[in-house]
């Protein structure tokens, strides 16, 4: 009874996610998709969208709700891409130029939106939505009229035949298309090696100059793994493997499993032999067991087939992983803690000397800048920019994905974001096909897709509201059980 009860409570708490798991399974059942094709499509979309969804987290933590304003970040990215294409930038350098151009733009836009939100506390979500529409208007004015109309642009490929206004498709073929995705591993490792060497050198010089402790051991810990990888890349076979632009998902899993096992073995070795810790490292064994289990799954024929179909864009996934790790790290800094405080209670934050408005603006700037990077990642993967359309649905789809993962207006974690992206895009990929199969009409399948996106937001918000109302009374913490009663202080007792 009590276990059933617990399971029931858990399911009720995660009702939105549970609903979408069920919907995904149903859609998969009715669609004609096979696992390999689904995986292939899914991992493309994960690479494309995850960064954008992660950019939503910081405003939620800072109490600004779901940031519909990331549309404005996407606009900054599209302006930057237009400029880069116009001046003939290409390849990874072109991407770096795009980043360099869109960062100041996004900071500025983020500042404006943040200032706007500070004047409309409590209604930021509506504000963000409308600000998105408004900025879209200005964007269209500039791209449809100002460019060519007022500012002379001499680029027939980019402009409408009349010379006024930008074409509604900017083709990235041959310049920025998949410039991040196709970065070979060997280049990444080279860059990482040079970077870590430079950083270590700078730190050593800095510490020598300031006569601080060198902390060589700590530096070596960071330097050695990279150096070993770099050295290995000189082995011809390894080098050839690493020169490929993509990494097979199957290999990625195998490397991950091998890495995890080696790491755990090293830790066990360190604790047993070096620190002479008599305790059996149970958790480490469990981790190794889990890694073994994951490895075993790859031997299931269907999974093997699916995993060997998917080619991961390495750098894209590394960038996403970096952001995924950055957010929890950031939340553990002073500024991150200030954001959490502001998000929880503005009055308390003010009275403890936190500049609430400033913190909220910083959160908005970070979110807008991250969203603009996310849009660059997304567009270089797609390979074409729909000048007047790419940014429109960005906010909507990202927010839908986040909500599916179980996040709410007040609370969101990186894990929820990733889970949400997987579920939402599975649904998104399958729903059109499943709808067409069920109703025998391809057009209706497309409606399913739109329904999935908008429906998600409505259903998720309604279900969160519902579980909050219910949870407010029954899921409250039984305070007395965790609390140890207070004792009177020694000095005052009679």
């Amino acid at each position: 009874m009590s276990i059933l009860n617990k399971v029931g409570k858990y399911l009720a708490k995660n009702n939105v996610t549970v609903l979408f798991v069920i919907l995904c399974l149903l859609a998969y059942h009715y669609s004609t998709f096979t696992l390999p094709t689904l995986f292939e499509e899914l991992f493309i979309r994960i690479g494309r969208n995850t960064f954008l969804v992660l950019s939503l987290l910081i405003p939620i933590i800072a109490g600004l709700g779901l940031n519909f304003g990331i549309v404005i970040g996407a606009i900054a990215a599209q302006i930057a891409i237009f400029v880069v294409v116009l001046f003939g930038g290409s390849g990874f350098t072109g991407i770096l130029w795009a980043v360099a151009i869109c960062t100041p733009l996004a900071v500025f836009f983020g500042y404006l939106v943040g200032s706007l939100f500070n004047k409309m506390k409590g209604t930021e979500m509506i504000g963000g939505l409308v600000a998105g529409f408004f900025s879209d208007g200005i964007y269209q004015f500039i791209f449809l009229f100002m460019l060519g109309g007022v500012i002379v642009v001499n680029a027939p490929d980019l402009m409408i035949a009349t010379g006024v206004g930008v074409r509604n498709i900017i083709n990235l073929d041959g310049n920025l298309r998949q410039a991040i995705d196709n970065m070979p591993m060997i280049n990444i490792i080279d860059a990482a090696f040079y970077a870590i060497t430079a950083i270590c050198a700078i730190l050593i010089i800095f510490r020598l100059a300031k006569k601080r402790d060198l902390q060589i051991k700590k530096l070596l810990k960071a330097f050695l793994p990279v150096a070993i990888l770099w050295a290995a890349s000189w082995i011809p076979a390894v080098g050839a493997f690493m020169s490929a632009p993509r990494l097979l998902l199957l290999y990625a899993i195998e490397f991950g499993v091998a890495g995890a096992v080696i790491y755990q073995l090293w830790k066990i070795f360190a604790s047993k032999v070096l620190d002479k810790n008599p305790e059996l490292p149970k958790m480490r064994l469990v981790y190794m067991g889990v890694a073994g289990g994951v490895y075993a799954i790859t031997f299931i024929p269907a999974m093997y087939e699916a995993l060997s179909m998917v080619n991961l864009p390495v750098l894209t996934y590394l960038i996403i992983a970096a952001l995924y790790m950055f957010i929890p790290w950031f939340m553990n800094t002073k500024l991150g803690q200030d954001m959490r405080t502001v998000g929880q209670d503005r009055a308390v934050a003010t009275s403890s000397g936190i500049n609430v408005n400033k913190v909220r603006i910083i959160a908005m700037i970070m979110s807008t800048v991250l969203a603009s990077y996310g849009q660059i990642i997304s567009l270089q993967n797609i390979g074409t920019v729909a000048t007047y359309g790419s940014h429109i649905a960005v906010g909507l789809y990202s927010i839908a994905a986040l909500l599916v993962g179980g996040a709410s207006v007040q609370r969101a974690t990186t894990k929820q974001a990733v889970l949400g992206i997987v579920l939402f895009h599975t649904m998104f990929i399958l729903s059109a096909n499943a709808g067409a199969q069920l109703l025998g009409n391809a057009q209706i399948g497309e409606f399913f897709r739109v329904f999935a996106a908008y429906g998600v937001i409505a259903v998720a918000l309604a279900m969160h509201a519902w579980s909050r109302r219910k949870g407010g009374q029954t899921l409250g913490l039984p305070a007395a059980t965790v609390v140890v009663p207070a004792k009177p202080p020694e000095s005052g007792s009679k």
């Binding site: 800094t333 002073k334 308390v348 409250g476 913490l477 965790v482 207070a486």
Partner: protein, 529 residues
């Protein structure tokens, strides 16, 4: 002369849109002194403290005249943060804690300990990493200093109110340069034992040289700990003297400006129903799942026309009983009101069976804080009984106005008129509005929970007298839940003491103190271990 005082307020005057709320108020506090600031609700205490802390309300309404001096130097605070830097702290009446944070995070809020990181060297201090260990150690030290034995990583959400109060104190004393600490009605939400503990904490802080301004309604506490006091009435200082030269009766007189008698005359007691009277409320095996106030199996028989008290320590479940009966918290068991069974799961069922409830949570449950006094008074009656509705179920404003006016006069609600927003009233007057709303339902049974929380003696006496009058003249049955035992003993016919979610005993008000003490501390012996 000036170095002798931590804080001097000189000739402070303040008016809100033409209405003077403070007139030439001066006071000075010495280091390590417990200084009582006494006054009825609306006497200007809160405004004075807002000025001291440089709250934005003050600047937005035209500032003030007079001088605030800290350690002999004139201070001009423009925000609470400035006051904090100058070493002034406050323990608030409405808790300024973040429920989702742990105790450590709450104690250290805004003043987190950090360690430098590579990122912080490049991008500035705000990217320094939190030093959780040092924060926890500091928090532990502050908690130990006030004798709190709680795990510092416990979340504040769901802590009993008494604990929250102590967490606030811990947060303030963790501030290194703390010179002056303001306690705003700190004992209003505490049980008697917690209040005692708080007073001894104040004493030990004062021994360490921290000056304390103690704002309270409880005069016995003033007598117990304070060294000097100032009484404010209608924005003016009516008296300022050492405690040794005065007594409770005098302070109470100064504060209210009229003589205070016992809350209720003894004669009313004779009206109490005898043992054979009809049973009005029959409670059997009541369990209520209210966080922090769990009820675990309560049986009660309450007679018709009785004023029945429910007392006990905070967190023991006394507040859970009315909330369960009214359907505010999930409950099981049976409750019969005048023979009719109440269905807990049906919200409002108790209301429709003639039970009115004045909640302990005035702002949250009791009132529609943004609505007018009149609307608040008639709202329940309108929704439950369809009262005050005219043709076509449209509110009859004429009836509403007339009724609100009569209630305002009856209960002496100090306001501009029935259309004033309830949120702008003082606590005592808000409580009177709650009572008026409950009475408008014309109940057969009235349940009042913590009726005197945070309100002054004048209002308290009026409410108590009125409740007794209702019983005497109209035979209303009243259940009164309160943390203040003295209050229960002064008006109730019988008092049930709740402990660990159960009724430990039912006592007559004249029972000896020891009996009450024992009944309350049925769990006390276990807690000490």
């Amino acid at each position: 002369m000036s170095e002798e005082f931590v804080l001097e307020l000189e000739n402070i005057s303040k008016e809100y849109s033409g209405n003077p709320v403070l007139k030439n108020v001066s006071l000075s506090v010495k280091p390590g002194e417990i200084y009582a600031l006494i006054g009825e609700n609306g006497a200007g205490k809160s405004t004075l403290m807002n000025i001291l802390f440089g709250m934005s309300v003050i600047h937005e309404t035209g500032g003030f005249t007079g001088k605030v001096k800290i350690g002999g130097q004139e201070a001009k605070f423009t925000s609470p943060a400035d006051a904090m830097l100058a070493g002034i702290g406050m323990v608030h009446q409405e808790f300024m804690l973040i429920p989702g944070f742990t105790i450590v995070e709450n104690i250290k809020v805004g003043r987190e300990e950090t360690l430098p990181t590579i990122a912080s060297r490049v991008f500035g201090k705000s990217l320094e990493r939190l030093d959780t260990e040092r924060m926890a150690a500091d928090a532990r030290k502050a908690l130990d200093a006030i004798g709190m034995d709680i795990n510092e990583f416990t979340r504040v959400a769901g802590l009993p109110v008494g604990y929250m109060q102590f967490v606030e104190i811990a947060r303030e004393i963790d501030k290194e340069n703390l010179k002056l600490l303001v306690f705003d009605e700190p004992t209003a939400v505490l049980t008697e034992s917690e209040a005692e503990q708080l007073l001894s904490v104040m004493q030990s802080l004062s021994d360490k040289g921290i000056a304390i301004i103690f704002i309270t309604h409880r005069l016995s506490e003033v007598m117990a700990v304070a060294r000097r006091m100032t009484v404010l009435r209608d924005g003016e200082v009516v008296a300022s003297k050492p405690i040794a030269q005065t007594d409770v009766v005098e302070i109470a007189e100064l504060m209210v400006g009229r003589r205070i008698e016992k809350l209720v005359d003894d004669e009313s007691r004779s009206v109490a129903p005898d043992e054979n009277a009809e049973i009005a409320v029959k409670v059997r095996d009541l369990f209520v799942d209210m966080p922090g106030e769990m009820v675990k199996g309560v049986d009660l028989d309450i007679r018709k026309g009785e004023i029945f008290g429910i007392g006990g320590l905070a967190g023991q479940g006394k507040v859970g009983i009315p909330n369960g009966i009214m359907g505010m918290s999930p409950a099981s068991g049976t409750v019969e009101v005048f023979g009719e069974k109440v269905t807990f799961s049906k919200l409002g069922d108790a209301l429709s069976k003639g039970v009115s409830f004045v909640s302990e949570d005035r702002r949250g449950v009791g009132l529609l804080i943004g609505e007018s006094i009149a609307h608040n008074i008639i709202f329940n009656t309108m929704t439950v009984k369809g009262g005050f509705l005219g043709l076509g179920k449209i509110i009859s404003h004429h009836q509403v106005r007339a009724h609100a006016q009569s209630m305002i006069e009856l209960l002496d609600i100090r306001c501009v008129g029935g259309s004033q927003r309830v949120g702008s009233l003082s606590g005592g007057n808000q409580q009177k509005v709650c009572l008026a709303a409950a009475l408008t339902l014309k109940p057969r049974l009235l349940i009042v929970s913590e009726p005197t929380r945070g309100i002054d003696i004048g209002a308290k006496k009026l409410i108590m007298e009125y409740l007794t009058k209702l019983r005497n003249e109209e035979g209303l049955t009243i259940i009164m839940v309160s943390s203040e035992l003295a209050e229960l003993r002064s008006v109730c016919d019988r008092i049930a003491i709740v402990s660990e979610g159960k009724v430990s005993s039912i006592l007559p008000p004249e029972a000896p103190d020891a009996d009450f003490g024992l009944a309350m501390s049925a769990v006390g012996s276990k807690e000490v271990e």
